[in-house]
Amino acid sequence: MLVSLEAKLINRKYLDSVKELVKPHTPQYCYQCAKCTSACTASKVIPEYKPHLIVALTRMGLIKQLLDSGIIWACTECWKCGEYCPQNVAPVEVIIALKNLAVASGYRPPEDLIAMARNVIELGRISPPIEVLSKEFEIYSRESLNLPPLVRPYAHESMRKTLKDLLGGL
């Protein structure tokens, strides 16, 4: 498919907000050696996931098609790309910025992540304490294991408010 580099595709606003979010890393310095993809955990199991391509699309301003695909959520945040990038571009930082941008522009992150975020807002943790099964199918809980009960975080009410503001209308 031919991609036309029209003004609406090269969306400077997107690019500028990514640049702002990833400072002091500079995605424009990328020279496509793809060392990031050679290192990438996700690339080894998801062939279409390529950090160097994400950086290339980002610096071209072709961010919309990237966000539409949802591929950015496959990143395991293992930070290998950031560690080895010869130009200090740190693709992982670019990808985190893109995720933020996606959410801010109305894209929906994976449902499990939304659930975690809601729990953090409401309970202060990504999940309530759950009951677990041992190998012998015995059920254990914090109580039965004699672990102290969990309490809400300090100043939970105000934290809840701040977090809701930051995380938007999830």
């Binding site: 290998k80 759950i130 969990l150 300090y154 701040t162």
Partner: protein, 296 residues
């Protein structure tokens, strides 16, 4: 004796109980006094994809709460450790970010402070408690068991902030295992990733990551794996069966222990004191070699 705030994070106190149990029973015996830190919630690590500032805010909160207690933080989870150290660095380097966070926290009566020491179990035991001290306490050495240390990504990277382990050549974890009498060794990609963060995107692919890891370790003839991260444990241990079926390879089977569990076994604690019945991987063989049984 070193006194620290026991910072549990999210996964450990809601799901990975074995880590909490073993840490609570083992660490005091090594001279680490654990002080409860119940008012600390999530470090924000899972939120950074949605909003980076939410992540920074949550960690800034923990750092500030800890500095009110005037004690160092002990993070059990790799994710928490990375968050706290990374955000500490960010806030110390970026004046405007610091001002912004200070304002958010001031709304809820918290004064922003970042001058607090952060430890993870691995560097606390290796650098503060010391390998020799641990060696002295060993009653049942893990002789003859070859254990693969699995430090996990966020013990090592990003290396531009202070990390518990060396990013390319992690040694501390192995030094601790050696102190227990176990044999250790090289295997490719020791600093590799368990794939846990990929779970919300795709469980299928995340399971393939962990299957690959276990295959790798088995090729180098290890008897067991040890980790110090609840996410890695969740992937390597709890999801081991699922990973095996996902790739259809029966050889994917290996016992997985928390570092704290292995230390506990070596200093003579019972499986119950270490929550060992909660490990879902086949740990029985190793326990048998050590002459302990799950029920005992």
């Amino acid at each position: 004796m070193v006194k620290v705030l026991l910072y549990l994070g999210c996964t450990i106190p809601t799901k990975q109980y074995a880590y909490e149990i073993s840490a609570r029973n083992v660490l005091p015996r090594l001279g680490v006094e654990l002080v409860e830190f119940p008012e600390a919630g999530c470090c924000g690590f899972p939120l950074k994809g949605i909003n980076k500032n939410a992540w920074i805010y949550m960690s800034a909160r923990i750092l500030s709460l800890a500095s009110m207690r005037n004690l160092p933080i002990l993070a059990l989870c790799n994710g928490c450790d990375t968050s706290l150290r990374k955000i500490k660095t960010l806030l110390n380097e970026d004046e405007s970010l610091r001002k912004y966070m200070a304002k958010l926290l001031a709304n809820e009566g918290i004064e922003l402070h970042t001058d607090v020491e952060v430890y993870h179990v691995v560097d606390l035991l290796h650098d503060v408690v010391g390998v020799n001290k641990i060696k002295e306490l060993v009653k049942k050495p893990l002789t003859g068991i070859k254990i693969a240390s699995y430090p996990g990504c966020h013990l090592l990277r990003p290396s531009d902030i202070p990390r518990p382990e060396d990013s390319v050549d992690p040694r501390k974890f192995d030094n601790l295992l050696s102190a227990l009498g176990a044999s250790v060794g090289y295997y490719p990609d020791k600093g590799g990733c368990c794939g846990a963060t990929m779970l919300p995107y795709s469980a299928k692919y995340a399971l393939r990551v962990v299957a690959g890891k276990i295959k790798n370790i088995k090729e180098f003839n290890f008897d067991a794996v040890s980790t110090s991260c609840p996410y890695c444990m969740e992937m390597l241990d709890a999801k081991q069966d699922a990973a095996r079926s996902e790739v259809g390879d029966e050889s994917i089977s290996i016992p997985v222990f928390y570092l704290t569990q292995l230390i506990g076994l070596a200093i003579g604690l019972s499986p119950k004191e270490l929550g060992l019945s909660l490990n879902l991987s086949p740990v029985e063989g190793v326990l048998e070699k050590l002459g302990v049984s799950l029920s005992g």
